[in-house]
Amino acid sequence: MAERATPLYRDTPRLLLLALAGLIMLMPYIWMVAASMKPLDEIFRASLTLLPERFHAIENYGKVFARIPVGLYLWNGLVVCGGILFFQLLFAVPAGYALAKLRFPGKEFVFGAVMLGLLVPPHVQALPLYVAFSQMGLLNSYTALIAPFTISVFAIFLFRQFFKSLPDDLIHAARLDGFSEMAIVWRVVLPNAWPAATAFSIFSVVAHWNDLFWPLIVVNGQDYATPALGVMYFRSAEAGDDFGALMAAAVIMTAPLVIAFLLAQRRFVEGIATTGLKG
């Protein structure tokens, strides 16, 4: 709406309003970081000073690393998110290609199934999957954490839409060059669909790094706990009212994605807001 650059003095009220709203938005982060550096008696005094009188960060963060296997939780988060994304791409990219570029009887049926799948939230499958994994003795395993999410109908849909816009000549040329269909999918089509792949990857990793529902159901105990579960365990078992250490744990587990977000802000916003429309 601003055609020319508004002079700063006229822009100030707008910026002040935004800054105020931003400050409210950041409140939990500000107090989380502040409390993670305070000793317990300062926290219990409930003073409104942000900076600690006695710097207690080393003790608080040290306590988190001493009490819970932070590295293991982060590693589990990485394995689970990486595993899910790997299979999602492995399954969805070829299927998306077939739906976009090949003619075959039953195509409408397959696409209809994809659209139908889009309607069902993942919580609906939880009970039978839990029973199945429990019968197979697979609770508390990476398999249980990863397998249910290996199929993403949303990814198939997204890749189909994106592949459709790629020129057919690209694929014909590759066929004439003797590429197999598999090679076309991975070495011709996917590299040309990089924006869609990045957007989906960010969406998928954010969703599964933050997921609590499914890990809470299939994981019991530390060995396969994801960061979300880690914070929860630390809160209920170890920390109790030790808010300094609890906030330190929260900072540690939140940091990886937040740092990634700050480094690639535009891609994150695009990835989640354009692909996250699935809701």
């Binding site: 709406m1 601003a2 055609e3 707008r14 910026l15 309003l17 709203a21 931003g22 938005m25 950041l26 409140m27 939990p28 982060y29 107090w31 989380m32 409930a46 409104l48 969805a92 070829p94 299927a95 290609y97 077939a98 090949l102 003619r103 009887p105 195509k107 397959v110 069902v120 939230p121 939880a126 009970l127 999957l129 029973v131 429990s134 999410f149 290996t150 199929i151 109908v153 066929r175 197999s180 269909e181 598999m182 954010v206 933050n210 529902f213 809470l216 159901i217 960061p227 979300a228 914070v231 809160r235 609890l246 906030m247 744990a249 929260a250 939140t254 990634a260 977000f261 802000q265 809701g279």
Partner: protein, 306 residues
Amino acid sequence: MSDAALTQALPRPARLALGETATAWLLSAPAIIAYLLMLLLPTLATIALAFTDFELGATGFAWIGLDNFAEMLSDRGFMTSLRNTIIYVGLVTPGSIAGALALALLIEAGTRGRTFFRAVFFLPVVSLTVAMAAAWQYLLHPSIGPLNAMLRVAGLGAPEWLSSSSTVLLSLAAIGIWENLGFNLVLFLAGLTAIPRELYAAAEVDGARHAWQRFRLVTWPMLGPTTLFVLTITMIRAVRVFDTVAVLTQGGPNKASQVLLYTMYEEGFTYFRLGYSAAITLVFLAIVLAMMWLQTKVLDKRVHYG
């Protein structure tokens, strides 16, 4: 039609080594198998379970028709949970939409600080909900929380936020608004950038001098499809509330913060009453489907607005 006939009927510059049909099914096979095993069969199994009295650990089960659904009607816990979910959605949806729209308009009204403020408001979307819930727990703590410390300085009372049944749902909704605002903001920003600049100039020529008039004449109607879309998507997101309840209140105090998914989780995975839990899941699914139906209905009508 056979593969050969198909490829002959549609002449192509290069033939596939394998028939096109076989290739297509082969490429889709992993996805189809995973779809059947992880999506279709479990969904059908949930539907079937909802009509049984299946309990984990029990030796057998019986088909009990609609008994689970009948039980819901007389189950105080479930009815509270359904009511709470509706209230929660009713608070989070308008709150996060109005807030996001206001902030989007403020951000779009100038050129300074766009990326910065977008990042600030989007931060909760990428933050680990469980960890941020712990931060909120500290922030809202009745005695040591900074919020009540501020209220005390201002001479106001110190509500118990998450531990009183009269404020718990309100507090959770506030956190829900905080969580969803950035997501909606980004959608509104995209909608605003798509409005042609000339329309504002034209409105000004027609006498729309004030910002409010231009908003009413141009922004609001042009943003119609975006707003309707944001509305339904926020409702669908809000009805899935689980994390904050599981971490902060476990449905308490005295069931004042029971919500659908948490009740479903408790019935299924704490009490192992899988049949009943499946029936609750179906209610949840029906609500989500109704919202999606509304979305397509509303969007089909309004999408050609501009």
